[in-house]
Amino acid sequence: MGAGARWRHPLVWAWAATVLVFMYVPALCLLLASLTSSRYFIFPITKWGVAWWEKTFDSLEIHALFRTSISVALCLTVVAVVIAFCGALAFARYQWRGRTLFQRLVLLPIFFPQSVLGLALLLWFSALGLDLSWRTAVFAHLVWIAPVVTLVIAIQVYSFDPALEEAAFDLGASRWQVFREVTLPVLFPGVFSGALFAFLLSWGNFPLSLFSTGADTTIPEYLYAKMVAGYTPGVPVLGTVSTVGAAVLLLVGYLLIRLGRRSRRDDAVERT
């Protein structure tokens, strides 16, 4: 390293900053486009205004969209976290024959094109004769999101000391007490991150929703339909809302995790 690092490190910083700006150009464009009071987007904007924000939030159609998207994301989060928590224990906590195979199977849906998965589920639902609705969408999201959440929680499980469970059991706790008093609280940060991921991934998902919601419509689907035909500045308004919403939720979650972890890390520092 040595002398080279002196000029290389600023370059790395500069490059990361450039790419970050690149990542946020679209969000910025959406924000700008939403702040016009004219029907079409012409830049530079001549007539600024928040008329389209008001219009969008007053629309009953939009309220229904929010309800659908939130219902899907909430149901999905609950089910995904329960399934993934068990999955993460099997993935990282216990040694058992077939674990390596299990780990690979869990990864398969993640390493699979989502649009094809969406179509396959459409075929499957129709073969089963199911009516498509937001409930089938929950299931479709689950196939992709539960494995992701399993990985997120598994990372926390890897750092879990199995002796904690044995110690509690040895001190007289029943299996349920061990789980409630030790396993769950110690793994909680992982479960929390997992839930956050589950909610946000479902909230922003398009390819799986497209083929699985039937008559119900989620926000990404609605936006896509409007983009292809019938642009109004309501599109950037909703786009901005969902970007900012995701950012706020993630930042708050991140700060909560940091707070929890910092109190533990400070302890560790004091100890040495």
Partner: protein, 283 residues
Amino acid sequence: MAAGSRAPGPRFALPVLGLLLVGFAAPLLAVIGYSFMPERTFGLWQEPTLDNYASVFSGTSYISFLWSLALASATVTVLALVCYPIAYGLARVFGRWSPLITLLFTIPLFVSENVRLYGWVLFFIKGGVLLGTLKSVFGIEIESWLFTRGIILLGMVYVYLPFMLFPMTLGVAMVPHETSEAAADLGASRWQVFREVELPLSMPGIVIGFLLTFVLAVGAIVEAKVLGGQQIIPITHDIEIAFTYAQNWPLGAALAVLLMVVVGVLVIGVLRRFDLDAVLGRR
């Protein structure tokens, strides 16, 4: 846990395995089943036939297939070059800023990709943020780049960047700092340290990043639609058309099966070489 709890591993694996069986394996089998059905049928219990596969290769779909593969390869190549310095920075340079920077790269992941791509449309469109600024500030008028192949590639690079960046960062973080220093101490140049030590040791993360972005990019559909006009027709578009407008499920299924084969061979071939405990569980 302890005596009495026989084999908790398989028991805890059960819910996920059940989900994968009903929600992943079964649908894929249904697709495979449909791909052998006669044209334009909607049931699964007809006489099996290979006609759909024959028509895939006699039609134009194979061109879409090649486009998808080419586009995915290009995406992976560009992403590798864009992401490595950032992954290096996150693992080695940014220090206490790393978590925050990681977070900033994560946020876009949770916004629907079509919304984000639409932001680029607003940027590049005639009278949009870029051309509008050029015209009003500098008086320059140029053709919009929207609906060109380059823009599709930009969109794909943009959408899949986090999927390359995060596994890569895990990979780079797996290289112990001392090994780089030891190599330098033994007389290796910066380039030699990278080639002989850092690159091989961070390979697991890098390969997973390559695989993930390639697979997702092969299945990409929105980029070409939102940004590309009709410049490139990816295979997923053909599949969707077959399922929707053309109402020819068996043909769509045959196309999907071919895509699944390519993806499956790649994924299984690569993943079987990995010790996932080593990549994920750095205790």
